[in-house]
Amino acid sequence: MYQMISDDNPYETPMMIFPASHYTMGGIWVDYELQTSVKGLFAIGECNFSDHGANRLGASALMQGLADGYFVLPYTMQNYLSDQIKVARSTFDTSHPEFDKAEADVRARIQRLMDIKGTKSPDEIHKRLGHVMWNLVGMGRTLQGLVKAIDEIEEVRKEFYNDLRVVGKADDLNTELEKALRLEDFLVIARMMAIDALNRNESCGAHFREEYQTADGEAARRDDQYMYVSCWKYTGDNVKPILIKEPLNYEAIKVQTRNYKS
């Protein structure tokens, strides 16, 4: 496989290896039943934040998909559905004002992007956002870097809303529009990730703040201050999300630091 990608035979030429981020930790907030803060909406598998803690290995996403799908959801969703039994089936249609509003919102969102008529493709802006995230919100993070990242993400956001170009039509199969819509979401998430990383003045799991390391370069956690899950409440694209702390209380295990050395 390595040879297929790099065209070098690793038995003869040493492999070129460097660390890269493969994953981001966290995800959609859910309760123990895997229900999101929107009642009736469940989020399972790797899109939710529930199982992996501050770090995860590649295959644990598969585990999470299987565990959520096999063991959790079949039992917890029934709790929700059992209350719905009283709702008359005849009301299950799309004639509710909420549907009309949702549809109108999506149409307005699409039209807004189509109307920008700038010069940059979604891919170009996406790459720019990617660079900011890779350089400043990647594996090693610092206070200055994160402050800078938030500014730069804001710059990219401005570029997006002022200079985006979506070719083609909105009511067609339009992959450029699809990319633009995704990118619009990424901008919100990118900003939130930077704000979150800035808030957490410790190193923990995959979050390595360079200021917080032990003498031999290992992650230094600060359990006295950060023993909580940071949940960020969305209140609008341009508004700072609100931090809700969920304390981590361990009853059955003793909190330790992983140590590969002794």
């Binding site: 297929m4 990608i5 065209d7 096999y70 063991f71 493709s121 891919d123 170009e124 170009r165 070719v167 083609g168 199969l173 992959t175 450029e176």
Partner: protein
């Protein structure tokens, strides 16, 4: 080492399922031989967008050979001229400066073109839904040694399970048959204890669904196995035939 080449692309463009398509020629310069085939297409699309033209629509997702989305017919081969890889794993170093590269969508009645190089492979999902699963309550984890499975059986099942449902087998087949895909999916369960309960029902249901969706019959040509990016062997088809006959006889 890496260097830049120029290529002439002959790409199938088709606005929609009902519309007539045609080949359109594009010339692309400064393509790094280190870039992947799909990165080359991204580059083309970027240039098209800069000129205000609509980009070439194609499917891709993982870009690491595991999802089966990148269904491109390149120079007469599904997933390109290199054996045992998907389109996304193909690199431009396999091409020479000045080459003309022909890119088409999968061509099969069961996979209608949605737009340009993007096809609708929903038929595979329907076959899977007809029986490509096991439905039993997992319960607690059983003892690992309670049900011994020989290494040979485990390996064969695993090999069958590597099918990524890309559809190259159908695209390569002159009959548009989905036998290699269906046989891989049936085999991966038929070989293992978990698959026994629904074994016969599965073989019947998946074959029935395959026939119903307009896939052709197998004439043992073997183009499918030759073009399969995961090297799924023809022996799976033999196994499927056996499974199916068995299931039919005991109906």
């Amino acid at each position: 080492m890496e260097h830049n080449i120029s290529v002439n692309l002959k790409i199938w463009r088709q606005r929609g399922p009902k519309e007539k398509g045609q080949f359109v020629n594009y010339k692309l310069d400064n393509v790094s031989t280190g870039s992947s085939f799909l990165e080359m297409l991204d580059m083309l699309n970027q240039q098209l967008v800069e000129r205000g033209e609509e980009p070439v629509v194609f499917d891709s997702d993982c870009r690491e050979g595991i999802c089966g989305m990148c269904s491109l017919y390149i120079n007469g081969h599904p997933h390109g001229p290199v054996q045992g890889i998907t389109t996304c794993q193909l690199h431009m170093r396999k091409f020479n400066d000045g080459d003309t590269i022909t890119i088409e969508p999968w061509r099969s009645a069961a996979f209608p073109v949605i737009r340009d190089l993007m096809v609708d492979r929903n038929a595979f999902d329907k076959i899977q839904q007809a029986g490509g699963y096991v439905s039993f309550n997992c319960g607690g984890a059983p003892d690992a040694n309670a049900t011994p499975i020989s290494k040979e059986v485990a390996d064969t099942a695993m090999d069958s399970a590597t099918c990524i449902g890309c559809g190259a087998c159908v695209a390569a087949c002159k009959n548009g048959s989905a036998m290699l895909f269906v046989s891989a999916k049936v085999s991966q369960f038929a070989l293992l204890p978990q698959g026994q309960v629904e074994r016969k029902r599965r073989a019947r249901a998946m074959v029935r669904k395959m026939d119903e969706l307009g896939f052709g019959n197998c004439t043992n040509t073997g183009a499918c196995a030759a073009e399969c990016p995961k090297n799924i062997p023809l022996s799976n088809i033999a196994r499927l035939n056996r499974e199916f006959i068995n299931a039919k006889c005991s109906e």
